[in-house]
């Protein structure tokens, strides 16, 4: 009974956290973009434009749902929902604090990757189901991109698993306790390539979440709006929200694996505030990158993964194994 | 680019295209499109007669006309003229069509310029029968002529023989009129 109440309250809290994030990350992005671009960003709805997300949501919800004539109706309708499901589901395994984790899985990391790849599929389904050539090209691009970037991401995660000897996310965080040099980014004693490895993981999560400079699924300069060209109203809204949910997930995972999760860098007062601080810092850097960089080509994107990131992460894996065996 | 050579070759080309009967004047200095100072002495009546200009080459004054050489040739000679100018590194700047309703003729004007540094502009013009406006295309020499000729075709109905794609371009696909012809009634 106690467990049930605990799970229920977690669900409510998570839903609130998620909803707030999805709404206000859009605001943060627009405001950030505004300040990067010498303008103010949203400012009319509410103080500092704080009610803008509500207005946007209302507008999206009140729009008519139009299904294109030659769309595959079931696929077209289920794609936006399908893209939301893994994004929401994955929050269950994330350790926000030492005891603030909805459900401790001993195989949390595995679950993360398993469900994250569903997100890529939903983009393909949406692109295919729209019956639009732009969406189709975008869907195909997004899938090959997701496949290409999941490999270096997984290999990098495996090095972390080898270091910690656990797939439990909370256990991974626990082992990074103490001071900042105990974080996995700076564990030079396990592999001297660890900081670069963090960078690889960061780039991969940028690509996995379909953000600029890797927004091949969207790339509005070429493919109009990519896989969600034909979506309007809340269908588009769900895709948009899933993007931010994935952003939060990606940054949380990076924080957990490399930046010591809820651990404090100075050894005192560990807790969820550290986790949120690190996560939002990463999210802000995503926003920053998005409004600073142009887009790569599809070719450049795949080249980066297959020619640089994958070989590098393999070298890092071998090096880590060597370090663990020798020292 | 050799100005003298271009002038010589175009002059020969224009002479070739002259009708068989001997020309009344030695050099075809013309009248109808010419309003230069030297012509002012000529009888005014002649100007107003609107006699179509004879084939031949005129050296025009740049400050007044914006061109250096102005040569009129027969329609079947435009490819030869384009070859002469292409060999000298000239570029085809534009193709213009003019409808001379009174004379019952259509005129095609090719503007050539030299992109290599020296200022040199050549105008090549050819007059066609209005009822049978066929002229060979210069597309195979100048890729840029493709769009210009296509436009001239659709605006004036000048048929560029050998053009790869004489389809409607700027006008709607169902346009069955030639808007720049002088007898066009909207």
């Amino acid at each position: 009974m106690n467990e049930l109440i605990r799970l229920l309250s977690y669900m409510i809290c998570l839903a609130a956290f998620l909803g707030l994030n999805l709404a206000y990350l859009g605001w943060v992005e627009r405001k950030g973009a505004g300040h990067i671009q010498r303008r103010t960003g949203p400012k009319d709805v509410g103080p500092y434009g704080l009610l803008q997300p509500l207005a946007d949501g209302l507008k999206l919800m009140s729009k008519q749902l139009i299904v294109p004539a030659n769309a595959d109706r079931p696929l077209y309708m289920c794609a936006p929902i399908l893209t939301m499901v893994p994004a929401v589901l994955l929050f269950v395994a994330i350790p926000f604090g030492e005891h603030l984790v909805p459900r401790e899985f001993s195989f949390g990391l595995l679950m993360m990757f398993a469900f994250a790849s569903v997100g890529g599929m939903s983009i393909l389904i949406g692109g295919w189901g729209s019956g639009n050539k732009y969406s189709l090209i975008a869907g195909a691009r997004a899938v090959s991109q997701n496949v290409a970037y999941e490999i270096p991401m997984l290999i990098t995660a495996i090095t972390i698993v080898m270091i910690t000897g656990s797939m439990d996310l909370n256990e991974i965080v626990r082992q990074q306790g103490g001071y900042i040099w105990n974080w996995n980014v700076f564990r030079l004693d396990k592999s001297i390539l660890m900081p670069v490895s963090f960078l690889v993981f960061f780039i991969c999560s940028l690509a996995e979440t379909n953000r600029t400079p890797f927004d091949m699924g969207e790339c509005e300069g070429e493919l109009v709006a990519g896989y969600h060209t034909e979506y309007g109203g809340m269908g588009f809204g769900l895709f948009m929200m899933a993007e931010y949910a994935n952003l939060v997930i990606g940054c949380s995972l990076t924080t957990v694996l490399f930046l010591g999760g809820w651990q404090s860098p100075i050894g005192i007062f560990p807790g969820p505030h550290w986790f949120l601080l690190k996560m939002y810092f990463l999210i802000w850097s995503f926003v920053w990158i998005r409004w600073t960089y142009p887009r790569t080509t599809f070719w450049g994107l795949l080249n980066l993964s297959w020619k640089y990131l994958i070989p590098f992460s393999l070298v890092n894996l071998l090096l880590t194994a060597l370090f663990i065996k020798v020292f | 680019m050799d100005r003298a050579k271009i002038k010589r070759e175009l002059e020969n080309l224009a002479a070739e295209g002259l009708p068989a009967e001997p020309p009344q004047e030695e050099t075809p200095v013309e009248v109808q499109t010419e309003a230069e100072g030297e012509d002012k002495a000529k009888p005014k009546a002649k100007k107003d007669e609107d006699v179509p200009r004879k084939n031949g080459l005129i050296e025009t004054e740049y400050a007044k006309r914006g061109t250096h050489l102005d040569v009129q040739i027969n329609p079947d000679q435009v490819v030869k003229a384009a070859e002469i100018l292409d060999a000298e590194g000239m570029t085809l700047e534009m193709v213009t069509g003019v409808d001379w309703l009174k004379e019952g003729q259509l005129e095609v004007i090719y503007d050539y310029s030299y992109p290599g540094g020296q200022l040199f502009r050549v105008v090549v013009r050819a007059r066609l029968d209005r009822n049978n406006p066929d002229i060979p295309t210069v597309c195979h020499l100048y890729g840029g002529a493709n769009w210009h000729e296509r436009e001239t075709w659709e605006m004036l109905g000048i048929n560029f023989v050998g053009h790869p794609q004489l389809e409607h371009f700027l006008l709607p696909e169902d346009a069955d009129f030639y808007p720049l012809r002088k007898d066009f009634k909207p």
């Binding site: 010498r38 050539k133 090209i137 790339c219 | 914006g66 890729g143 840029g144």
Partner: protein, 372 residues
């Protein structure tokens, strides 16, 4: 080309880019036959904004045709004004006061900077970088404000007249222009630092969309496209008009023939335009801005006339056939992008879709000017 594209199993599909598409800067439509991500054939289809300016030229008196000149290339309308003014002054033999010519050059060059700024911003936006556009727009606003103060309009200028300009510039304009130049000059190195040096941008531009000098010649491509292919050809130098021979400036030429070269030519041209403006402001003579005795109803002598100017996108030239009346018998407008984009079909063959759009952006098309 990939081995897949060369293999027997070729399956192509058609894709219509435009008429409404973010990358086509307006209502250009490109019918693309795609082979996977590669382009088999890309045929630009024009005419969505065709207004038949040439016919209008035949129906209106010479003076009534002025407003049309602002509506061809709405980004560098001043150069088009310049061409029409020059053409009719050549035809009717009107002498223009020197001060008017200087004012023409100053405003036309300000307009060129403005056009290149927007071209720069919009081009980077095509490539997915949104921020430079906003920076460019910021600077562009300053120019538009300046030009509005003398011409009365922000975009579709109708400022020049036969024999001069409509309105003399005042001290506010001169000090404002000087202040703008002072503010704008350091911005260009900043753009280079922020944008040009970006590894992703360099990857996308260098070597993309090669156009040889000979291809430019065959297609009649001019302006930054031609100068990006290593040909030093600029009407302002090669066929001097107005007071350009009295001002000192350089013609930026790049030999790389790729999109980066065309981009760099535009960036460098902004610097040179600043030089021209500053030079012209220093030399600005006193005097009238309108020629005396310009007939109200202009009747140029019979004959045909040609005039060419360097607009922001290349050579804009006009040929008019006058039959001695107060309207034109035939008005021909030769717009630079028309010729520049005509080489797209040949040059884009076998390109990746994203490269082709980067290439199209480097031609900097303005659709109303192509369709006329």
């Amino acid at each position: 080309m990939s081995s897949l594209a060369q293999s027997q199993l070729r399956e192509t599909f058609e894709l219509n880019i435009g008429p409404q598409h973010p990358a086509t800067h307006g209502v250009l439509r490109i019918k693309v036959v795609m082979d996977g991500e590669y382009i088999d054939r890309a045929e630009p289809i024009l005419g969505y904004i065709h207004r038949m300016h040439e016919k209008m030229g035949e129906n209106r008196t010479w003076n009534q045709f002025w407003p049309n000149m602002g509506r061809l290339d709405y980004l560098s309308a001043m150069a088009y004004n310049h061409c029409y003014a020059g053409l009719m002054e050549r035809a009717a033999g009107i002498e223009v006061p020197e001060r008017a010519e200087y004012i023409r050059v100053i405003t036309a060059e300000l307009n060129r900077i403005q056009s290149h700024l927007l071209g720069f911003g919009a081009y980077i936006m095509d490539l997915g970088g949104f921020t430079p556009l906003m920076y460019a727009m910021d600077e562009r606003e300053q120019i538009l404000d300046l030009l509005e103060s003398v011409t009365g309009s922000r975009l579709t200028y109708c400022y020049f007249r036969f024999g001069g300009v409509y309105n003399d510039i005042d001290d506010d304009f001169i000090t404002g222009t000087r202040a703008f130049l002072k503010r704008f000059r350091p911005q260009i190195p900043m753009y280079h630092k922020l944008v040009t040096g970006n590894a992703i941008l360099m990857d996308r531009l260098i070597g993309v969309g090669p156009i040889s000098a000979d291809m430019c010649r065959k297609y009649g491509a001019t302006g930054p496209v031609l100068r990006g292919s290593g040909v030093n050809y600029d009407i302002r130098r090669n066929e001097p008009y107005s007071v350009y021979p009295e001002l000192d400036f350089d013609i930026p030429v790049y030999k790389e023939c790729d999109s980066m070269a065309r981009y760099m030519v535009r960036m460098d041209e902004m610097v040179q335009s600043c030089r021209i403006i500053e030079n012209a402001l220093n030399k600005l003579p006193e005097g009238p801005v309108m020629a005396e005795k310009v007939p109200k109803a202009l009747k140029p002598p019979k004959g045909d006339y040609h005039y060419a100017v360097e607009a922001a996108r290349g050579t804009f030239s006009m040929r008019t056939v006058s039959d001695g009346t107060n309207t034109s018998y035939r008005m021909r407008l030769r717009s630079p992008t028309y010729s520049n984009v005509s080489l797209f079909e040949e040059a884009s063959r076998g390109m990746l879709l994203s490269d082709a759009l980067a290439f199209l952006g480097s031609l900097d098309p303005v659709i109303p000017e192509m369709d006329r």
